[in-house]
Every structure is written in structure tokens, then in C-alpha cells.
Subunit: 183 residues, 2 copies
DNA sequence: CTCAACTAGTTCAAGGTTTTATCAACCACT
DNA sequence: AGTGGTTGATAAAACCTTGAACTAGTTGAG
């Protein structure tokens, strides 16, 4: 399947983490024939593709700007929803409340996010972006999207639509009672 | 669109992290019309669905057995490929060499993994599962697959096939030169 | 045969995440 | 009002990850 075989067994060098998924399913199926191979393939590929893309985005877009991937996610969430309670920010960004607490602490010190007590309920903390935070986030967001575009350029428009539809369908399962969610 | 409006603004409770993706794309498109919305949707959904599933698998299957998700991933990699160099384990499991080094240290102490020097090249370390490691992994693997099955049960067989095809296509981009990979 | 360049693995510091525990504030019921 | 039960946020301890620096072993060009 691969053109250049010159190196003997040195063929696959760049990111084995993807190529290995099929072998993994094969071996598991051999050893445990009752395995649901489709389920396994989906979860493996999902996880690995998401990981590779996330690593690329974080290392090529966000780290050079001084943001971690979680910091970008959290700031983006606040940017989208506007002033919001810490708890809502956690659930919408997919982190635990503790993670948001510690991350906002960092971002507050960097002057990117503000934390103010909610006057109507003093337990609550309202998060918002500072002007500097907004500027930082918007620049990162644009560059992030350019990079996302490079990743998905190979998919036809209808493939993109279908992929999102299937991911959405899979994500809907999260509303089932047996699913363990953060918090 | 939603049936129950009784609570006023208390409608969406379980995992907002999924519902928010569409709003995020909308807002970004408003603010930056040049945004590639398809690319953004794909990456957002990919990341969030992968995260929710991973969290569920880790917290419901692996933590109760005393394994972290990374530990499971690494042990699974070794289980699939057999005795292997630390470097290969890193690239196939999608972690950095440093992460593998620290993780194998833990797993070695737990008696799940062995590290032996390669006689032919003393720089190299060969990793393998112990018998206990194999037993532990295989039990976790079976339970993991049962849970994966629950997640994907809602997809028709052809949808499952198509989803994997599209993920694979997306993953293939990782071979492009501009992509930042771990290591 | 030797020295420079490279490679495999480890270590370190810094930061992020998790779970569990704690504390403060709120709410509802008597 | 008070008291018990929630809820929101933070703190602590343990673990994982990253990038950079470091050690040691290997390779190969002259």
C-alpha cells in the first residue's frame, strides 16, 4: 500500500498512534471473539483523531500565544456566553468546577478574566473576560479556525455535514442515565 | 424546540458541554463572518464527544479497577504489539516519551509492566506486561468494550462504518508536513 | 580510531486535572 | 428565627503531561 519500502521495517514513522488502531481491533477480536468491533473502532478512532488535532492546535496556535488549550476553551466559553457563573462555565466547557476554579485563578492573575461576587447570591462568582482577555481570545480564535480549516479541508461539504451529524448522534447518548458525567 | 419550559431558564441541565457547540459556532460566525463554520463544528464536536466518552469510560470502568485512562491506553498498546521499545510505545499510544517513562515507572512498581534493557542496544528499554498486567488489562478491556458498545448502540451498522471512514480520513491529515506531532 | 552528532530514556519544574473534603451562603420547613 | 439539607466555590493531595535539560550509548566521517 505504501510506495517507499526502502527502509526495511522503518516504513511507518509519523504518528503510529493512528495506524495502530486497526491492528488493535484485529488482535482484540482474535483474542475475544465476542468483542463489538464497531464500537471499539469508533471509540479508538474518535479518541486518537481528537487527540492528534488537539495537540496540533495547542502546540501550534495556543502555546506560542501563552495560552494552554484548557485556557482557550474556558475563555472561548465565556466569550460565547458572556458574563456567567463559574458553575455554568464548568459545565459548558466540559471541565470540573475545581478545574475552572484553579484555571480562573491563573487567568485572573494574567489579567485575562475577572471574578466578581454575584450581589444576589454571594455564593456565586461571575466570570467575565477583561478587554485584554477579549483581544487575546479573538486573535487566538481566528488563528485556531484557520488551523481547523486546514485539518478539515479534505472533507467534501456533505462529508463534513454527515460527520457532524454522526458525532451529534453519538453525543446525544450523554443524556442517558447510565452515563457518568463530570460533577 | 424543547418541550418542557416549566422551569423558566432551568431547562438544560445534563452536560451543557454538548449543547453549547452550536451556539459557539453561531456567535463566532456573527462576529467573524469569514469563519469556516464546518471546520469549527467538526473540531468542537469531535473534541467534546471524545471527552465525554473518555470521561465516562475512565470513571466507570478504569478508575474502579485502579487504572488511569493513560495506564489503560499504554498497557493496551503493549498488549497489542507485544514486547516493545519505550519509544514505540510512546508513539503508538499517542503519548510523549516522558509520559511513558513516568507511567511505566508507576506500572512497574505496581507489578503490571516490566522494563528490561535491550542487550543489542543498551540505550533501549523493552517494555512488556507481567502476567498480572495481562490479566488486569484483559479484564479492563472486556469491560471497556461493553461500555463502548452502549455508547455506539444507537448507530446503525452503516452509520458506524461511515463514521469510522470519516474519522480515518480526518486522521490521515496527520501525515501532512505542517502538522505538529508529539515528539 | 576518534570525536562530533545523534538517539533513547530519564529527570525536573511548572501547570492542569481529578477526587475528596471543607466552608460559606442560601432555602425551606417548623 | 432557627435548624437541616442543599448548593457554589475553593483547598489539598495525588497523578499526568509538557518542554527542556541531562545522561549514556551508538554511529559514522574523516
Amino acid at each position: 500500500m505504501v510506495h517507499d519500502m526502502s527502509g526495511g521495517h522503518e516504513t511507518a514513522e509519523r504518528s503510529d498512534s493512528l495506524g495502530i488502531a486497526d491492528l488493535a481491533v484485529e488482535r482484540t477480536k482474535e483474542r475475544f471473539p465476542e468483542t463489538d468491533a464497531d464500537a471499539m473502532s469508533i471509540v479508538l478512532w474518535l479518541h486518537r483523531v481528537a487527540n492528534v488535532i488537539t495537540y496540533d492546535l495547542e502546540s501550534s496556535v495556543h502555546r506560542p500565544r501563552g495560552l494552554s488549550w484548557p485556557a482557550f476553551r474556558l475563555m472561548f466559553t465565556i466569550w460565547v456566553s458572556g458574563t456567567m457563573e463559574s458553575k455554568a462555565a464548568a459545565s459548558q466547557s466540559g471541565m470540573s468546577r475545581a478545574a475552572v476554579s484553579s484555571l480562573t485563578n491563573t487567568l485572573d492573575n494574567l489579567g485575562l478574566v475577572t471574578r466578581t461576587a454575584d450581589p444576589s447570591d454571594k455564593r456565586k462568582i461571575l466570570l467575565d473576560l477583561t478587554d485584554a482577555g477579549r483581544v487575546t481570545l479573538e486573535a487566538a480564535l481566528r488563528e485556531n479556525n484557520v488551523q481547523e480549516s486546514k485539518w478539515t479541508a479534505g472533507l467534501a461539504p456533505d462529508e463534513a455535514t454527515e460527520l457532524v451529524r454522526l458525532l451529534r448522534k453519538l453525543g446525544d447518548v450523554a443524556t442517558d442515565e447510565w452515563v457518568n458525567l463530570r460533577d
